[in-house]
């Protein structure tokens, strides 16, 4: 697998490259600012773009804007956005930006190397990965309905909303996949959502539900 990395802090950029390469992901391009990122995004020698939200020249949200634009130009291009902080606004913009292959994670998730590499692979394969903080803050918002869920169902919903597959949820909760399937069906029934097999669509359904106000 090949990745494009955009990160302005040299230390973090080098660390990220090293970490990805060690896990069998080739970094074909590494850029440090927005103009270079825009050039690099037009190439087609990568399977996923891993971007920092903040990039020079102004150090605000260039990385995110570039990601959103490239996703309208090249729908389905997998993009994983990393940030020092989580904003619901950015999560919503990323989820609304066309189909497939999108992720939004806090930079410190990189610490858990195995989870992080797994997230990169899932996004590259067209999945959706949302930071647990996005999900838990959305869950906090909907206390009313969520009180009807059992603790197991709640945990399942949280994992599902962050983009895990049934198998991954089963492994995390130490239960069988069919038990996970039952939990998911119960959650969808209680929230009045349609069950969907597609991970990405499933995440969208859950997050959309949680964001409704």
């Amino acid at each position: 697998m090949r990745a494009l990395v955009a990160e302005d802090h040299t230390l973090l950029r080098e660390g990220l490259i090293q970490l990805l390469e060690l896990n069998g992901i080739t970094v074909t391009a590494a850029v440090a600012d927005e103009p270079h990122l825009r050039q690099a995004l037009r190439r087609d020698d990568f399977d996923i773009a891993v971007l920092d939200v903040r990039l020079p020249p102004t150090g605000t949200d260039e990385g995110l804007r570039a990601a959103l634009e490239i996703r309208t130009e090249r729908p389905g291009l997998p993009v994983l956005v990393l940030s020092q902080y989580v904003e619901q606004l950015y999560a919503r913009e990323l989820l609304a930006s066309a189909e497939g292959g999108v992720g939004y994670l806090l930079k410190d998730r990189v610490n858990r190397v195995a989870d992080f590499v797994d997230a990169v692979r899932r996004v590259a394969a067209g999945g959706t990965v949302m930071d647990p903080e996005v999900v838990s803050r959305l869950l906090g918002r909907r206390e009313d309905v969520l009180t009807t869920l059992t603790p197991r169902e709640r945990e399942t919903l949280q994992l599902m909303a962050s983009g895990r597959s049934n198998a991954a949820i089963a492994a995390q909760m130490v239960v069988t996949e069919s038990a996970v399937g039952k939990n998911i069906a119960a959650v969808f029934a209680k929230l009045g959502l349609e069950v969907s097999g597609d991970d990405h669509r499933r995440v969208l359904a859950v997050l959309t539900y949680l964001q409704q106000s």
Binding site: V53, T60, E62, Q84, Y85, L106, D108, R112
Partner: protein, 456 residues
């Protein structure tokens, strides 16, 4: 969205008054009121003057204060009259009175009243009013009365016994029969003409004089401005100092401690890595956890200083993000933030950074109150940018009864706003709904980030 006009309504001009007969009738009536008012005005004046020797026995002090306050009421009446003649309200120039009540606060009241130049101008005004003012008003009244008198001469001669009204212009002209009374009508015409011509001038003269004495002087206006600026500057300085102390404490007790322990853990790992690799691995895992929680702490700290999304997206984007994060379902309405210079319309207008920060934290606090205290099921945020001012209002359908004090955090917002000449309005009747409105003057600045979406 059309916000022009609201702030540009010109103050009522003196010309926009009824002219001709209606104006003169009104002015004559005003002069009558004035003559009566001048008489009444002497009462508080005399009370003030008699209170002065009574200072020897303490009774003089409350009497003096009461009389001065009574005098102020009377002066308010005169201000209102002068405003109605001049077309512009005459503002009250008084310094704010002390908050305390009762005998204990008496001397601070006395001090404020005695040191306020407006007090002495009030007293001076009474003297001027019962001399010059009285003369002006009686002139108008006399002219009007004389006109009536000469017009009514035939009637007067007819109904009264001879010899009472027979020499209206002195012994030179003697009228013997009521029909001769009509000889006085040309005189009446002359007097009416005189009344017609001089009344507006005389009364305007009175109004100008009143405004000069009872309105704020340039120095009292400046004094008021200086007072409010010193207060808000002191508050801003204290708030900034308190904020820095909080940040220092948070860094000292949080991040620094965590980094120190992280360093210790890593030192241990270095030692143990050969002898006890299992324990070293466990220590490394906990070190990794420690960096995550340190990051969390720093994030919370940064959010409290200046939320990154505010720098990225400005007020509108940051408030939108805040609204998405609020536990009570909340809607956002935005007026007047469209940037005419922005072709694709994606970026709302930016304001000066301090203005954005102040409003952002105000809205954040108001929304936090909605979640914590209001019991609301719905809330709405409205951002409005119009010529020269920006406002943010937060409304909820909760149980109301909110106050600016009482730990609601609104007092802090009000303090921040004052530093920008802004203001906070709270409408929260018991039973709801509650609306908090933050408003401040501002000029929009150009976007800090230029759109760089050139299509190649």
């Amino acid at each position: 969205m059309t916000n022009r006009g609201a702030s540009t309504t010109a103050p009522a001009s003196p010309r926009a008054q009824p002219g001709g007969m209606a104006l003169r009738a009104k002015l004559t009536l005003t002069s009558l009121v004035l003559v009566v008012l001048t008489m009444i005005g002497l009462v508080p004046f005399i009370l003030v003057v008699t209170a002065l020797p009574l200072f020897v026995v303490w009774l003089g002090v409350p009497m003096f204060i009461g009389a001065l306050l009574l005098l102020r009421l009377w002066c308010d009446g005169a201000r209102w009259l002068a405003g109605s003649i001049g077309g512009n309200r005459v503002p009250r120039p008084y310094r704010p009175l002390p908050r305390g009540r009762g005998p204990a606060a008496m001397f601070s009241w006395l001090r404020v009243l005695l040191t306020d130049p407006a007090t002495w101008r009030d007293l001076l005004w009474v003297l001027v009013s019962c001399t010059v003012g009285f003369t002006l008003a009686t002139l108008v009244l006399t002219l009007f009365g004389a006109a009536l008198f000469y017009l009514a001469m035939p009637l007067l001669l007819a109904v009264t016994p001879p010899g009472i009204f027979n020499d209206p212009l002195g012994p030179l002209v003697v009228l013997d029969h009521w029909t001769e009374g009509f000889w006085m009508w040309p005189v009446a015409g002359l007097v009416v003409l005189l009344w017609w011509v001089t009344t507006p001038g005389l009364m305007t003269g009175w109004a100008v004089m009143t405004r000069a004495l009872l309105g704020p002087t340039r120095s009292s206006r400046l004094q008021g401005r200086v007072d409010s600026l010193s207060t808000s500057r002191a508050e801003t300085r204290d708030a900034a100092a308190a904020e820095l102390r909080r940040i220092e404490r948070d860094l000292h007790d949080g991040v620094q401690v965590r980094l120190a322990s992280l360093g210790m853990n890593l030192g241990l790992v270095e030692q143990l890595i050969r002898t006890d690799p299992e324990r070293a691995r466990a220590l490394l895992a906990s070190a990794s956890e420690a960096t995550t929680s340190t990051m969390q702490e720093l994030r919370a700290l940064v959010r409290g200083i200046h939320p990154p999304v505010l720098a990225d997206r400005g007020l509108v984007g940051a408030v939108r993000s805040l609204v998405l994060d609020t536990a009570v379902p909340t809607t956002l309405t935005v007026h007047g933030f469209d940037d005419p210079a922005d072709a694709d319309g994606g970026r709302p207008r930016r304001l000066e950074a301090p203005v954005e920060t102040c409003l952002y934290f105000g809205v954040a606090e108001a929304l936090a109150n909605v979640v914590k205290h209001s019991g609301a099921t719905r809330a709405g945020v409205e951002l409005t940018l119009r010529d020269g001012s920006v406002s943010a209002s937060v409304t909820d359908d909760g149980h109301g009864g909110a106050t600016v004090g009482a730990g609601s955090g609104l007092a802090g917002i009000e303090r921040r706003l004052r530093a920008f000449d802004g203001s906070l309005h709270l409408a929260s009747p018991v039973g709801g709904p509650t609306t908090v409105t933050l408003e401040m003057p501002c000029e929009p600045s150009s976007p800090k980030t230029t759109p760089s979406s050139e299509k190649v």
